[in-house]
């Protein structure tokens, strides 16, 4: 761990020195910082004394109880896990019908939308023979007369002059 410079005098920045000493005891200083602490310790008896005191009280924690856990703990914990899983499974099962219905509804709506889109596409682009037939009906009604004229350009000229518009029935 990279650290800030260590104060030379043990009396300055006591908290900073203590931090460095504790980190040194814990092996958390990088090589450079560790060397500087060691240099400080070599030159200052008070710092060495501080280090020894810190180490002494830290070692007292080794005397704390480390109690063993009984077998019943393992058994009851596993039972609790099993119960938890069972409860979770039941919850998911209870929600499953609602999810199924939701899926069907979404599927149905999607299908209808697809059918409608398809219908509109077909209606827009599919050629209708009847529509074509209606457009050509005037031509078909006078087909026999028109068939006499062999020149298409002449026919186009007559059409342009409005000669193919049917006269309104005479009144009176």
């Amino acid at each position: 761990m990279a650290d800030e410079p260590i104060s030379i005098s043990p009396t300055d920045d006591q908290a900073g020195l203590e931090e460095q000493l504790v980190a040194y005891l814990d092996g958390e200083l990088d090589d450079d910082c560790a060397r500087r602490v060691e240099a400080l310790l070599a030159g200052h008896p008070k710092a060495r004394e501080q280090l020894a005191r810190l180490e002494r009280t830290w070692s007292l924690l080794d005397g704390l109880d480390r109690p063993q856990v009984e077998e019943t703990f393992t058994r009851t914990t596993i039972e609790m896990v099993a119960l938890q899983e069972e409860a979770e499974l039941s919850r998911r099962r209870a929600q499953a019908p609602r999810r199924r219905v939701r899926r069907w509804v979404i599927g149905g709506v999607g299908l209808l939308a697809a059918v409608l889109a398809g219908f509109l596409a077909v209606a827009g682009f599919w050629p209708e023979p009847d529509r074509q037939f209606l457009r050509d009906l005037p031509l078909l009604e006078d087909y026999d007369e028109l068939n006499q004229i062999e020149d298409a350009d002449f026919l186009q000229m007559l059409y342009d002059q409005g000669l193919f518009v049917k006269d309104a029935p005479d009144e009176g």
């Binding site: 931090e19 000493l21 814990d26 810190l54 007292l60 109880d65 063993q68 856990v69 703990f73 914990t77």
Partner: protein, 249 residues
Amino acid sequence: MPREVRGAPEVPFPVGIALVVSESSAQRQALRDPDVRLMLEVRGDSAEAFEELMLRYQGRLVSVLEHLVGDRDQAEDLAQDVFLRVYRARKSYVAGAKFSTWLFTIANNVASNALRSRSRRREVGLRTPEGSGVGSPWDRVIQASSGQMPVRRVDKAEMRDIVRLALEALNERQRMAVLLSKFEGMSYADIAEAMELSPQAVKSLLARARVNLREVLEPYLDHGSRPRSGNGPKSAGDEETGEGTGIRD
């Protein structure tokens, strides 16, 4: 003499964030940590692997929690809560950190919640256990050490009690850091990850905790007498605000 300098700390892995860890990285981690391998089997719904992990960690977990909350029964309840959460979270487990670090991160959260609830209840109830005549753990340490004959040899059981009281006199964060360092041998980086602090904050926290322990225990060790009046260590600002009992935070 100091211990061997540990290697550079790993970059902390935030728990709960979905990280993309390549299979090869996960495999490397699994090879280094057999508990990670077990947890990956638990992710695959292996009950045997879960039981094995429990057997490996239940004692350690209960020990840490007991010294943290000061009550054996509650420690076991909390430990069970931790294992339940581990199993519940198995599908989202990402093998990117040591398993123990991940486990103790959960333990730290569970313990913090429990202690917070307990302190809220205390604020409401304001009850002092009958016959104790003392309020804070600090007072109990003073009481325990006062009136003792100066002794050179200290009874082991008595010493254990004094050390336990000294530990209880620390605030929750200091206590957790001390327990993870002492009982679990975790590095500052791992403790930082478990407690969601920076490594520098952990360094400061542990230093203050150990100085506080020294200042509580030394008078008893040296003279069997109570700490000096003014109650020893003065309070100081803390870069990470913690609960205080009048000793240095």
